[in-house]
């Protein structure tokens, strides 16, 4: 994480990939304990990753990373449960099925998809090109006739407003 904060993209990707299973465990435990739906696990994971990214400045670099990470993950799990308070579905069997069927795959998340579709057209295109197709900022810039810097700013704004949508009252 320290390397990533210094701007090392490869280190950052490794870190995010490495913490994802851990985040998934926390999300699963939190949802299970509170009687949330197992289909929300990946929502919580992605919401947490987004928060880890946007709030990485709140990690005290002199402290170990795990307690901070756990705090973010728990906060996001509770947040999701509260947001979905209206529809609590609890079924142990389906829980077990789900966990067996999808042992930590990178499932698609409904919530993040919804937040994505709420963005304005250009921001959505940028996120889709960069995230789904893995294009670089300069490629996207050339395609959309924007400067590389403008693409970066638009991407950052898009991620922020997705996070805001996710933590809003009810989507």
């Amino acid at each position: 994480m320290r390397m990533a904060l210094a701007g090392d993209q490869a280190a950052y990707r490794m870190l995010l990939v490495a913490i994802t299973p851990h985040l998934r465990t926390i999300a699963r435990n939190a949802l299970q304990r509170a009687g949330g739906s197992p289909s929300d696990i990946e929502d919580v994971v992605q919401d947490t990753l987004l928060a880890v990214h946007l709030k990485r400045g709140t990690w005290d670099t002199t402290m170990p990373l795990t307690p901070w990470l756990n705090a973010v993950a728990r906060h996001k799990a509770i947040d999701t449960l509260r947001r979905k308070g209206g529809r609590i579905e609890f079924d142990l069997d389906s829980f077990a099925d789900d966990v067996v069927a999808a042992p930590g795959s990178g499932d698609a998340s409904v919530d993040v998809q919804t937040a994505l579709s709420g963005l304005e057209q250009r921001q959505r295109t940028i996120v889709e090109l960069m995230a789904l197709e893995g294009r670089s900022a300069s490629e996207v810039g050339a395609k959309l006739d924007m400067t590389e810097g403008a693409v970066r700013v638009a991407l950052h704004r898009a991620l922020k407003s997705m996070a805001a949508r996710l933590s809003g009252p009810k989507p």
Partner: protein
């Protein structure tokens, strides 16, 4: 969207600088305090005797304001990280009101009761209760806005602490103008006004400091 794809987007966004609570506060809060002080005092003026008989009470009020502001600010910044326990910060909320209540009680026991209610109510407690929250509004906005860069585990508590931080600034400014010096007056109405600001901060914090 798949999780790996999201990670791709996050990695692409790594170069964006992270804004942090402290640097934003350092940049904006002094200005907001200055704006409030200059605009209020240029209209209403300093109290006339500030250099003579009023010096000691003014210094007392400024000290009270600085203490309230510092306590609120330090605790609010402390609580802007997700892995910080909220319980200790929550206790800070009760510190100033409790100290004020003790001062009022001690003053009641020491002075006779007939003159005491005059010392308590003075002539301008309503002005005090309205002006301090008004003066605190701009700093409160600045503190809350800066705290949005943080990730607090307890939005309402953090908002209330922001309220005390900005009320402290308002006390310093108002203390340079207000001529009521009785101890129970200051302890009751200044602190009660701060509590109003803290409640407003808590309500705003619940919405603004979610993440």
């Amino acid at each position: 969207m798949k999780t790996e794809q999201l990670i791709g987007a996050l990695v692409a966004d790594l170069d964006t600088p992270v804004s942090d609570v402290k640097s934003r506060l350092r940049r904006l809060l002094p200005w907001s305090a200055l704006i409030v002080a200059v605009s209020f005092l240029s209209v209403f003026g300093l109290r006339g005797d500030v250099a003579t008989t009023g010096l000691v009470p003014v210094l007392g009020k400024v000290t009270l304001g600085l203490v309230v502001a510092t306590l609120g600010l330090v605790a609010a910044v402390h609580l802007s990280r997700p892995d910080r326990p909220a319980a200790a910060a929550r206790r800070v909320l009760f510190l100033v009101p409790m100290m004020a209540a003790m001062v009022v009680a001690a003053d009641f026991l020491l002075s006779g009761s007939p003159q005491w209610s005059m010392r308590l109510f003075g002539k301008s407690f309503i002005a005090c209760l309205t002006i301090i929250p008004l003066l605190a509004a701009l700093p409160l906005g600045v503190v809350l806005w800066s705290l949005r860069d943080g990730a607090t585990p307890a939005p309402a508590t953090a908002g209330a602490l922001a309220g005390f931080a900005s009320a402290g600034i308002a006390i310093v400014v108002y203390g340079l103008y207000c001529i009521e010096d009785a101890l129970p007056f200051v302890a009751t109405w200044y602190v009660l006004a701060s509590c109003f600001v803290a409640v407003a901060g808590a309500v705003a914090g619940r919405v603004l400091l979610r993440w």
